[in-house]
Amino acid sequence: MYRFWAIIARDLRLSIRHGGDTLAALLFFVIAASLFPFGVSPTPETLGHIAPAVIWVCALLAALLPLERLFGADLEDGSLDHLILSGLPAAAIAAAKAVTHWLSTGLPLIVMAAPIAVMLRMPDDGIPVLLLALLPGTLIMSLFGTLGAAMVLGARRPGVLLPILVLPLLIPVVIFGASAPAAVASGLSAQPQLLLLTAILTGALGLFTVMAGAALRSALE
C-alpha cells in the first residue's frame, strides 16, 4: 500500500511543481462558461435555466485537458517503466493516477463550479445539489478519463483520440448531473439523479479495475 501512496505523492509533487496543468483546466472552465452569456442571452431566466448544463459540459471538457499528459509525460521520459517495476499491479498504478487526476483537476473544478454557478445566475437552492452531483461526476470523469488515457497511450495522436473515446461514455453522467438541480428547482428531490450517478461511479470503478491495468501494460510492449 505504501507504494500506492508513493505514486500519489510523486504525482502530486509534480502537479504542484508544474502547476500549469491545474491552472489551465480551471481557466478553460471559467472562460468557456463565460462565453455562454455572450452567445445565448444575459437575462437571468435564460442563463439560470441552462447554467447546470453549461457547468457540467465545461467541467467535463476541462477535466479532459490534463489527461493526455497523465501517462504521456511518464512514457516519454521513461518514468513509466519505473512505475511499472515498482511492484504494484498495473491496475493499481492506473488507480493512483486517477486519484491524482481527481485531486489536481476534479476537486479544483468542483470548487470553481460554485462561483461560476453564481455568475451564471443559477437559482441559489440548486447550487448545493449541483456541487453534490459534481462529486461523483468528477470521480467518474477521472476514472473514465484515466482509463481512456491508458488506452490511447502510445497512439500517434492521443489528444484527438481521447475525447472521441471518453466523451460518449459520459453522456449519461451529463444527463443525470445536469437534471439534478432542475429537479430541485421544480420542487422534486434530486435523490434519484444522485443515486444513479453513484451507480455509474460503481460501474466505472469495476470497468476501470478490469481494463486499466491491461491497457497500461500493452502500451509499454
Binding site: 508513493a6 509533487r13 509534480l14 508544474h18 516519454e76 521520459d77 521513461g78 519505473h82 511492484g87 498495473a90
Partner: protein, 212 residues
C-alpha cells in the same frame, strides 16, 4: 516444475533467471528466436550485437515489460509472467532515457525510488558523487550528470537483477570508476547484471551473449 526447481539449485550458486527458447516479435518482425540462457547470482552478462539485434528488447523481456511470443522466462523455476507485480521489484532497469523530471531537484527525482526501496537517498547520491548537486533542478544538469542521477536510482534499488541499457553513455572516467565499484559491490552481494553495450564496461569476469 519440480524438475525445474531441482535443476535451478544445482551447484553452489543458485540459478536465478533462466530463458528457455525465447522468441520475441515486435510488430511484424521477429527480433530473435530460440534464445536460451541462464544467469546465476553474482554473474554479469554483456549483450552485444549490431543495432537492432534486440539487446534492449531482451532487457525489457527480462524486466517483464515485453512478453515473448514463444518460450518461457523463469525466476527460480517460476514463470515471471505469472505474477508481473511480484517480478517488478526484482529488476532494476536503466533504459535509454534517464526517467528524470526536469522541474524537480535531484533529490526529489530520487525520492520515489527511495520510498519504494525504503532506503535513504544520501548514500546513493554519494555513490555517484551527486551530493553537491542534490538541491539543483534537473533542468540545470548536463547529460552525463542526468545519467549519474539514473545510476544513483539504480544504487537505491533493492533489486537483485540489474538491467542496464548502455549505462555508461555520457559518463566521465571518474564516474565510470564509481559505477564499476557499484557493480562490483552489487555482484559481491549476490546480484546479477545484464548490460547491453557497445563499449567496455567496468566489469570483471563477464560472459558475453551475442545477438543478431
Amino acid at each position: 516444475m519440480h524438475a525445474e526447481d531441482a535443476a535451478s539449485t544445482v551447484g553452489t550458486r543458485a540459478v536465478n533467471i533462466q530463458l528457455q527458447a525465447v522468441a520475441v516479435r515486435r510488430g511484424q518482425r521477429l527480433i530473435f528466436r530460440d534464445l536460451s540462457m541462464t544467469i546465476a547470482s553474482g554473474e554479469a552478462i554483456i549483450l552485444s550485437g549490431p543495432n537492432g539485434a534486440g539487446k534492449s528488447t531482451l532487457l525489457r523481456v527480462l524486466a517483464g515489460l515485453i512478453r515473448p511470443v514463444a518460450g518461457t522466462v523463469l525466476w527460480q523455476g517460476h514463470d515471471i509472467f505469472d505474477d508481473l507485480a511480484e517480478h517488478g521489484p526484482r529488476a532494476a532497469y536503466v533504459g535509454h532515457q534517464d526517467a528524470i523530471k526536469l522541474g524537480l531537484t535531484v533529490t526529489e527525482n530520487l525520492s520515489f525510488a527511495a520510498a519504494i526501496a525504503r532506503r535513504p537517498i544520501g548514500p546513493a547520491l554519494a555513490a555517484m558523487n551527486l551530493t553537491a548537486l542534490a538541491d539543483l533542478r534537473a533542468r540545470m544538469l548536463s547529460a552525463g550528470q542526468k545519467r549519474r542521477v539514473a545510476l544513483a536510482r539504480l544504487a537505491l534499488s533493492n533489486a537483485p537483477l540489474w538491467l542496464l541499457d548502455e549505462p555508461t553513455l555520457g559518463l566521465d572516467t571518474a564516474s565510470i570508476a564509481r559505477f564499476g565499484a557499484m557493480l562490483a559491490a552489487h555482484r559481491a552481494a549476490g546480484g546479477m547484471v545484464v548490460a547491453a553495450t557497445h563499449v567496455p564496461l567496468p566489469l570483471a569476469d563477464v560472459s558475453e551473449v551475442r545477438l543478431g
